[in-house]
Symmetry: D2
Subunit: 336 residues, 4 copies
């Protein structure tokens, strides 16, 4: 940590700060600059909260040097992680394509979606049985019945990805799913992250709408620190002033995260866009920027969908998009 | 709802959309403008998801007219709600002042804080026994022991406000608290909101860092729709590009919310500011903009705090701030 | 326009609003909904400012239906525009690659950059002779001398793109450049936009850091409405809370704009990223999302650059990146 | 500056960086931490661009210690500045109240506004004769005729504040105005800032919608560095995701700026709010947070205004608001 002393601080201030730093187990190195004096504190930064020094008289700022995540860091593990989802890998040369409806509605819908997903190159079937909806009056999901309908995946050799929204549903989800999604609205629900960290299933952790890349990796760290190392990250758009899309897809986050973290990163173009027309170009861009896969929404009849109809792809658009994605994947030296 | 047809749509498109709207139980009124045709759909907007019409060919946009919240709305209840917290009212002429440390650390700290809080005009003692921390390696709270230390409130006639972070801790929290806080990171944790809606205790619901005012009221609606009408709202800063504060305190949200909603609104200047120096001016501004109270952090020795030291007020600053707040309150025709 | 009447408005309110709308040259259609009454105003929306009706008693909201830009709109011109820059086209199948240093420093630097740009597929040489710098103490550019050094472009058959920052420099810039850049910080400097609209040269208009896509197209409309139809748009990052990049590159803006506007759109990955390491992945993504070209920064020795060194590519990275970009371009059916 | 070396850097990397720092005129102090090595560079930070070191192999980050503004800094001038506007002070105990219409429309309108402004405590008449409008088809201002109508101020002893939008209009504006406004859209139009810095009149510099507090002070520094020390700052709202207001008024910016800068700071609640109903509460809050004054829009008949009608106050609301503002001012030990 670097402690910047304020202009006009006294020697007594500096001594008090130095004493406090050393009490906390660090060594100090003062550096007397032309306009500022700084104290470099050398020690294990994760141990004690030097931020509190900011309250001491004469202190202008406390600047951390180290990144606050460990297990998620590419310093901790130097090669990219492959996450095994029921025998299918996420990470590596082959892209992970996850398709399905926003909400599970009925068995026929899931069978249609699973068949289309399989046909056009997906290896994973997504679908929500527990839906975190902005309005309490919106459809909240079919719950266990919905999970049963997701077994449509089996007939087509797909793996099931579905969202966990309450700590008490873990066992139920584990009984049906191959991979557990933690949604953007729960990205800082630390109780849920800890429970996910104790699951035997791999986790798909979506980025929160207001999370910096650093905070997002800290959320992953919660899961890893409980012992579950099978975490796949997913950029899905952040909150900005731009209102022509539902969220702003932050594709820079993919290389930013990959430069600091060994976990696979996929992209959800549907929730960022909010409209199906933007999903194909954003899906192509996601692969070109280096993502390890895609998760997006398809529906046999989007105009009848109970949730997120406007951003769901019809099957013919899905098929055409996958042709384009395949070409971009090849240009990137990857396969589907 | 207003459905805007795209330029170049065909009559068949318009007929299909009209048919679909009517199937969904609405009546349609077409309006043929100079450059656009719009279809006004008349009916109970909360019933069926017209947004899905956006997927139909020939549709440019679907514009809702009604606000999506009901029970929280000032159309539903035309006079401001007073929330009873163990005999103390929030809302109304007298301001609700809630002070205490970020995290409960030990009994002495809580006794000191309770005495100071009482002395300078607070009626509520805040403090966290379960801490939602960005890092899994940060102090996570004393849990039940911390709740016991909060009983320091009793000796000084203060009401206890503390945060619930997991659906499974509800009974434990209810055994010790007078008011349950739902934190900003759980503002869209709908499972937790539903549990809060079934509690017999009043709820302090903090605004999420990426929530629009409208989405925030929808989160309150989750609690109300489960039968708990005792909800106090709390603006605490939103995520913006500005980095000289931890978050940007959105004081406009106070009159915005009060123009649409009957619930009391208080302000947390500590978490928005991130530094104690900004807390007094923001506290004064919060009262001047029309807030019904304040919640903020105090600590006997901020430089030793295990959490949020930099933004905690020392007792002398707290005392001086309350003098200023009192004068602003009087100018607003309110008391402390 | 749709005028939404407030709950509780009187008939007199509605009559007054109706009268005012009709005075302003519109016809009105009232629609009596279950919970709201709306007045549809039919007429030429661009004529008179119905927004002011919001001040009238009984009015809840005024909702525009039409997009406010005309000449930039794909309704006005249904086929994509190709912009001719000194004989080189921007728009169309062949990508426009613009490379060069942030600031022109000396003749040798420009000769080296021009040679490298040509060698690796660029058709345009960028470089700033007038620099809009955040600090008045930073290097402000070589001015006319810098423009002379940009003639290095000629020897390599490149076109010159350089920024105009003051209405009084137009003639000087026109004497040396093939294309005039209007920078992000001047994206709402309407005096400068009008002057650009009167130039005989094509304009490269960068998006402002806080401009919505709609406002950005309005800025383009300023140039078009003065008679200069040769405008190329450029997404270069918007301001968000994310701090691991200098700005957040909003790649969704490319298909969003292309769905509404006939002008070519290129992408600047350098200024969004703020660090050279992110430029290659973002450049690939920009082509995959459908951009018509790229503009980015190269420098023979970035560590010695007087401006934007951290985001400038060395020539070997530039060369490698162009190989990747070429493969993505082919996958998109385009060439370099 | 602090240069953080990357994990895995070699001694040769460190030596090359050290050599480069010393070539640039700094001394280096290496500090070998537990997980990172940092190099502290001691010297005059404003001289040379150490940021470029970020391009060198082995460098992880470059962290500046000093604030980049000098003349605007409270280290440069330790007491608050009073700005003299034609004999009226801005800054100090007495608040500066600036009222008037968004756009000058005709002589009668200006006479009515001037009379109302004077009556209710304003000392300054604002009004735009040159209007920076988002759409080229919106009213662009009466230009010199509008400036003539602003002489209505004289009859009521008010000072004239009006906006400069082009470097070529300076002399014309100087002939009529007492204070020159630089608007939010020109906050990083550095050519215009330099021209303002050479004016003999005081400058009202509005904050840009996407400017951090630090960048805003750098914009002020442009004016000061040209020799014009009479600068008043004005917070007017920043761009965020919240859409119930036109912009988000960042009242924290007032104490943030005052802790770093000696210039007066006023607040514009009208442009932030976008609707007149929010202007009175935000005006009260601005005074309570410590602002030195207010600038806002009034209009005799807002529903007929050619610009910004929805956010203009009618005279009776203006009068009532000033009563409240006066009470808050007294509570703050200030007068109107």
């Amino acid at each position: 940590m670097i402690i910047v002393m304020a202009p006009g601080h006294t020697e007594a201030h500096r001594e008090a700060v130095t004493r406090r730093i050393e009490e906390l187990g660090y060594k100090t190195h003062p550096i007397f600059g032309v306009e500022r004096t700084v104290l470099a504190a050398v020690g294990h930064e994760d141990k004690t909260p030097l931020e509190s020094l900011q309250s001491m008289p004469g202190v202008e700022a406390v600047i951390p040097i180290l990144k606050p995540f460990k297990l998620a860091s590419s310093e901790y593990r130097k090669t990219p992680t492959f996450v095994d989802v029921g025998g299918e890998a996420v990470g590596g040369r082959r892209l992970a394509i996850m398709a399905g409806p926003c909400a599970v509605e009925d068995e026929a819908q899931m069978m249609e979606c699973a068949a289309a997903a399989r046909k056009h190159g997906a290896r994973f079937l997504r679908g929500g049985a527990f839906k975190p909806r902005t309005s309490p009056y919106s459809f909240q999901g079919l719950e266990e019945e919905g999970l049963r309908f997701m077994q449509a995946a089996d007939a087509h050799g797909l793996k099931v990805v579905t969202e966990l929204i309450s700590v008490n549903d873990l066992e139920l989800i584990e009984a049906y799913a191959d991979m557990i999604q933690i949604g953007a609205r729960n990205a800082q629900n630390f109780s849920l992250l800890k429970v996910a960290g104790r699951s035997k299933l791999p986790i798909l952790l979506k980025r929160g709408m207001a999370q910096t890349a650093r905070e997002y990796l800290m959320a992953a760290e919660y899961i890893l620190s409980e012992g579950n190392y099978d975490v796949v990250l997913c950029e899905r758009g952040i909150r900005t002033f731009e209102d022509s899309t539902r969220n702003t897809l932050d594709l820079s986050a993919v290389p930013v995260i990959k430069s600091q973290c060994h976990l696979p990163v996929i992209v959800d173009p549907s929730h960022a866009a909010g409209t199906w027309r933007l999903v194909p170009p954003l899906a192509r861009a996601a692969i070109a920027v280096g993502a390890d896969g895609l998760i997006f929404e398809i529906h046999p009849r989007p105009q009848d969908a109970v949730s997120d109809g406007p951003q769901s792809l019809k099957f013919d658009t899905f098929a055409a998009m996958m042709e384009d994605v395949r070409r971009i994947a090849e240009a990137m030296g990857r396969t589907i």
